[in-house]
Subunit: 326 residues, 2 copies
């Protein structure tokens, strides 16, 4: 047993999902709006562009026990992972020199790279401190959050190195996003499941499921990025390709079309040529096929978990959110 | 009792200081030279500009028991803190746009800011993972490394915000360096002492001593920076002031000389005017007086600790290293 419910305080007041989710949002808002004065202006700026908390939802759903109740410490872990994610976004925007994030001006654009680097570091430390503030820390020694931070960094670096690499392979791309995106989903699923007192074998299933859902989430994002670019082809957008990031739809096209690849490597190709190549080779359909494969593998794991039907439904809801089919 | 030696494995083979120190160096070299391929070129680059490991020495000396022996896990903690320090330097160089560090070209100059930001994040995660790899982690739950990372970040940010602030006060400056530099010394002393099974009261003394030694280290650095600038006045140097950092010798001068401060705030002052003002007002002597005060307070704590004479001698050696009087 990695973890055992008996070691937890039996007197603790468990809560329902909706209450827990609201508490996560309150915890994050509180952290960003009441940070030390010296950093408050910057962290408050981040409040405006909050995401949908899909990682937090992952933690909470996985933390549900057989009665559908959640240990209150799962709120801390969920908020901690969202803040860690936010830290990586702040550094990503420095790395990508990005001006906008979710429609809002980025921290690095508004306050400069210096401030953004320190703010990212600060959020990272806040995240780890928050994770360490739970009451039964000894049960979470196996979670090893720094391992996941390391995976995210290596994924980021691997992506950065492969910027504009027209020879990037399918498998190397999957490896990149498995670090960059899926690692934090994996951590979320594992951390949540630890609250339910699971066996090693069961923990492995949760980790795998988290990883698959992360892959689905990223590959679906890749498709959406392409679709948005096509829609807004005449506007100045900062799509993946403009930032040098080559994603699966384009990797598929580059592999099929040797001439196109040679031109991309040599004199370069225009945005409309890329869209045409992806369209001609069915790059989006190919990517969605891979998403479907991860989806089916995920469903098999969900079926296999020893959990209530209600929890299964919630996990499927997460799967649908990740693949934007919800 | 924060920590109790009895909870540690009695069969563990403890080691002497010299062996422990060599093992720390080997651990750091191994980490930097055998990191994942995707990052190895960058971490290897950092091998060239290693420091004197004064934080590692702090951990090991504080970890010595009454027989002068050290728990082998102290090696992991010492290496972890040095790597954490290295991570902050890598990000500092991004923030300060620095070209050189200890005479070597910086990571950010050689490979760009993107790579340096990710490498710093990677080293931070490696550091925390290493700290988490010790055998008796439950005894170190009170160490709270992320708290110290947070203090370092806030100190950095506070300094950054006060760049070129000619009205920065003595006390605010002490607050900045207490975070920026002294926090990691405090962590080193506390972490080391935890290996010796100490009381809360005793732990508080170690933390305070670490903080004071960190202050001494930074204030002495400030003086050295000024002395170097005077010596190399005709060469292009990147001293503190050129990077906007106003340190205690200059703060003292700015406070004494109203006209000089007005000019610095307005049209600006030259390097030689600064050196002259610091010299005229005895800024270096004033800073060394503050160092002496911290030194005396440190000596009182060392006297007060319930430790062997040998360990006292080693702590005094550290004090002298920090104040460069060794």
């Amino acid at each position: 047993m990695i973890n055992d419910v008996k070691t937890m305080d039996e007197n603790i007041q468990k809560i329902w999902y909706d209450e827990a989710f609201d508490l996560v949002k309150a915890e994050i808002n509180n952290t960003l709006s009441k940070s030390p004065i010296v950093i408050r202006e910057y962290t408050k700026h981040l409040l405006a562009s909050q995401g949908k908390y899909i990682r937090a939802a992952s933690v909470l759903i996985c933390a549900e026990d057989k009665e559908g109740m959640i240990h209150p410490d799962a709120v801390k872990i969920a908020a901690s992972i969202e803040i860690l994610h936010l830290a990586t976004l702040v550094h990503d925007d420095v790395i990508d020199n990005a001006d906008l994030r979710r429609g809002n001006i980025t921290l690095q654009k508004k306050y400069g790279k210096r401030t953004a680097v320190i703010c990212g570091d600060y959020l990272l430390s806040v995240s780890l401190r928050m994770a360490a503030s739970i009451s039964n820390r000894q049960d979470f020694l196996n979670l090893n959050m720094p391992d996941y931070v390391e995976k995210v960094c290596l994924g980021e670096l691997n992506q950065h190195i492969n910027n504009y690499n027209v020879n990037l392979t399918f498998f190397n791309y999957l490896k990149i996003i498995s670090g960059k995106t899926a690692a934090l989903f994996e951590a979320s699923f594992f951390a949540g499941a630890l609250f339910t007192g699971i066996s090693e074998a069961e923990a492995k299933k949760y980790r795998k499921l988290g990883n698959y859902i992360g892959m689905i989430f990223q590959l679906t994002d890749d498709c959406i990025d392409f679709e948005n670019t096509v829609e807004t082809a005449n506007k100045p957008v900062q799509s993946d390709y403009e930032q040098g990031v080559i994603t699966l739809p384009l990797i598929h096209a580059l592999k099929q079309l040797g001439d196109f690849r040679a031109k991309a490597q040599g004199s370069g190709v225009s945005r409309s040529e890329i869209n045409e190549a992806v369209s001609k080779t069915g790059g989006l359909d190919f990517t969605r096929l891979i998403v479907r494969k991860y989806y089916n593998k995920s469903m098999k794991i969900v079926d296999d978990l020893d959990i209530t039907d209600n929890k299964k439904d919630k996990l499927i809801m997460l799967l649908n959110k990740a693949s934007r089919t919800a």
